[in-house]
Symmetry: D2
Subunit: 307 residues, 4 copies
């Protein structure tokens, strides 16, 4: 991992997975997206994430995506890879493949079909994962898809394991985020990444280490700029930039947020808009709204609009 003496900080991007119309991996676009992110100055790329449709792709597609991204990043930034699945056994298998392919960090959220029955189950799950992992593990709290909230006491216990290097919190719960940040007093090198970009300014100023939101696929430079503005202590500039990003974030406000971000990416010429079925493409009305947002914020760059 390139930043070996540092804990993860900054903007990590859950990279989208460009697909062709018949749902194959679009390697050319994927490589283009990687270069777009690195050029934007991001601090890490997260493969097979929620945004990356990592839970919907076929197993060999997931491996292919990881291979391509590792190859294209060429170790300029660390590569994080999602390994979660419906059970410990399946997640361990994913983890082994991920390690073999050369990911720097494994990222795991709770199993997601059966609603987890207790925090004890979550402890068992994460501890077993990390016991089998030669690479660092990052926790991932995302109750909206997993139906499970990783509670504060559970994080507190898991923090005692040095191989667990941090957590991405996508609960959109600011009070929980502040409470997570307070846990850093027990272990200052435990990284806290904020899933929802709206919470970055308040959260990073309050002590979180970085942001991890799919919107940075679209505007990696602005996201990195926000991070820098915050860490330089320029609060009023940060608030203004935050408002701008919040407005651009509205490209997500579609029936399917995945369809929204992919349409926006396609309008910027970075990929095609296709998502894994049965997720439906944006409606015409949604597409129109996205075009307006991109135009308003100078993100269409005078190029012709995709038809």
């Amino acid at each position: 991992m390139p930043q070996s003496n540092q804990i993860p900080k900054g903007v990590i991007v859950p990279i989208i997975t460009p697909l062709t119309r018949d749902e194959n991996i679009d390697e050319i676009s994927l490589r283009k997206c990687v270069r777009h992110l690195i050029k934007g100055g991001v601090h890490g790329i997260f493969v097979n994430s929620t945004t990356g449709e990592g839970l919907s792709l076929l197993d060999d597609q997931k491996r292919l995506v990881l291979e391509i991204v590792i190859d294209e990043t060429n170790r300029m930034v660390p590569v994080y890879a999602g390994v979660s699945d419906t059970s410990l056994g399946r997640a361990l298998r994913n983890l082994a493949e991920t390690v073999e392919l050369g990911a720097d960090v494994a990222v795991a959220h709770p199993p997601f079909y059966y609603p987890p029955n207790s925090q004890e189950e979550l402890l068992t799950f994460f501890q077993s994962l990390t016991d089998h992992s030669p690479i660092p593990l990052m926790l991932y709290n995302i109750p909206s898809t997993t139906k499970a909230h990783i509670e504060l006491d559970t994080v507190r216990i898991l923090m005692e394991n040095d191989n667990i290097i941090g957590i991405k919190d996508s609960s959109v719960d600011y009070v929980f985020l502040l409470n997570l940040i307070e846990l850093k007093k027990y272990r200052p090198d435990f990284s806290i990444f904020i899933g929802k970009s709206h919470l970055w300014t308040g959260g990073i100023f309050s002590g979180a280490d970085g942001g991890l939101d799919g919107i940075s696929n679209l505007i990696p430079d602005l996201c990195v700029q926000l991070y820098n503005t915050i860490t330089e202590g320029r609060f009023s500039d940060a608030v203004a930039l935050q408002q701008r990003i919040n407005e651009i974030w509205r490209v997500y406000e579609c029936r399917s947020f995945l369809a929204g971000i992919k349409m926006a990416m396609s309008l910027r010429g970075l990929c095609e808009p296709w998502t894994t079925k049965p997720i439906l493409m944006t409606s015409e009305e949604e597409q129109e709204r996205i075009i307006n947002i991109l135009r308003e914020y100078g993100l269409l760059e005078n190029k012709g609009v995709r038809k």
Copy 2:
């Protein structure tokens, strides 16, 4: 399918998947369970269901379970097989394997990681599945795990496809169940199976076609007896038997319902109690409670209790 001129009716059992302590398929116990069910008079066996931990097993384990059950049932009853997954692509791959292995009916619930965004997505999903399926498809409504409710209007549209032969409703919503039953006026041969056994008496008397609850792994004979009592119109006998089954059902009231049913099955000598991790075994207190229930209802058969 053996009952080729009939629509599915009666008691279909979502068979548990016996595991060894190190989480391999316990083939001997699985075959024993199949014989136990057939001896109990059940009308079908459903493999890789929610109860069967079908969503937690490794892919090759799922195939193995299906092969064993098809072999052991020896076409005495039809074999239903779960094919659901996180996306259409993954479900289609499961479906193809299931067909190849010889299942009689495929059973599918909505994709379950990303919360489905609209009923239109569900329509797309089920219609694509059935378009690719040479065997009949049964819908499966289980909002507690999928976060998606298949709405009445969606069922109404899907009913127009003859290859979709019915629905298993595990929503535990009696009003929805009655509304489903009313849809039979549009297609009398559309089978409605009730997931939660408590609703069997009221629901089957009101027109549903059968029951599909994991508790019938433990007491297939009683479940079949309840079904027969209802269809013979003996309502007060049915109510009494229903109450008895409701009491036995309390073996499920553990932190993990899967751990509960497996412990009960193991106490009856049908398998070991292990579940796919991170699901935890029953606590000692839970085990004690299950023993008491089985003893009260004469289900321990004077055998020594498992230590």
Copy 3:
């Protein structure tokens, strides 16, 4: 109470409260509704219920409604009166007035602004209420408005108090209903009334004592007929009648169920359609749908439709 040697059984109607356009009590229509219900053969009238907008009316309006209904029923059927409020103190004051005005039974659900913090609070509430009540108390479980579910163990404890004569369950949870019915083994004279009419046939056949749903304002005769059909053991007739009532029940499927039932009542000439503000009247489309339902089931009686 007229049926002094019997426990409450049958159809109790949560009577609507007819209002004038400027939101005064419409006494003439209220008396007409009472006569309509008694003529329909109902077994009790419940004043200031959820359906009766008892929680929205001004205090003096609530008293007036109770006075009028007691006067008009003339002790032909017992009068139940809602006494719930946001705290024990307020409920006790309501109870005292209700007793003074001559209600036969007080009905109480949990306090409803602050979400109750524990079942212990609910026990305290109901026990204090009944300790101060010279008339019998009926529990009322309605989580959709109170955010509190009266759990089975709580009912079990409260049943030990003879002055608590039963429970109305509006949780629309059939499993909970069956569990409630099983508690009757501890006290056979504890009455169980089912809030949602869809559950009447299954529930009363399974041992519940009666039904208490606002739809019986509209069709008291059909509701009583359903109850009689069930208690006479004619199950298939009951199922057919139940389906008919379920269809008529769709008059409730409006933005506001209160607006729906009042529009239906007004179309039958029993009152004006006004509700307590800010609840809005039915839309034109909703009104059209209600007219169609009433017409289909012969409930418009060739009278001109209200403009």
Copy 4:
């Protein structure tokens, strides 16, 4: 209103209502609390709020509390008064009394027994209220008790009415809060108050006008100091102070938050710990925890602890 040329800003305190053991208003303690708050430098006092048990008190108690607070504040700070109820009619009656008694601002959340059916109902409610109000109205969004979320578009429309001067948002939804703040571009003098103190630092730095959390009953001086630190742009001092307040806020973490804050207030010698029944007092364990928090943060002041 003393600050006639300014919009409301700063720390407004939803004052607790001290009660005697037999649930009468404890006037002496109430006056003591008012003086405690004014000495702490707060910018307003909010009577009959959620924290003030305004929805649980008897009607004449609510009036008495308002009278005492108006008298004791002696116009040193404006007095806000809660007027919400279960219907528009009841709220209008509360409003009339509140105006007559001399409150400076009326505060209203949506009706709370019947779940509101649409944003249109909420618009009707708030517009009717303000049309009848000779004093300014502040909106109050608190979905946890009212089951209704006042949506952004609804606020946007209501902002057009000058007599509606702001909103208190207790949704604990940071994204919604940022979106509310963006609405200030349409009307800069629309005040936004944050209900949950954890969100004050991030929220006020981002443009909100002040805080309104019950914790300021206990530590008005610290809350005012936090507000001043933020508005002076000293972000890192604010974050440190925020963390301290977050820790003290844990006095709320009891079965009943009302019991928690009242016990803490009683331990500081400001009132007795009684709440409106059926809310139960803190358990011994909870009380012990509160003592520890107060002691750790120097809030027990060497006084003997309440027995």
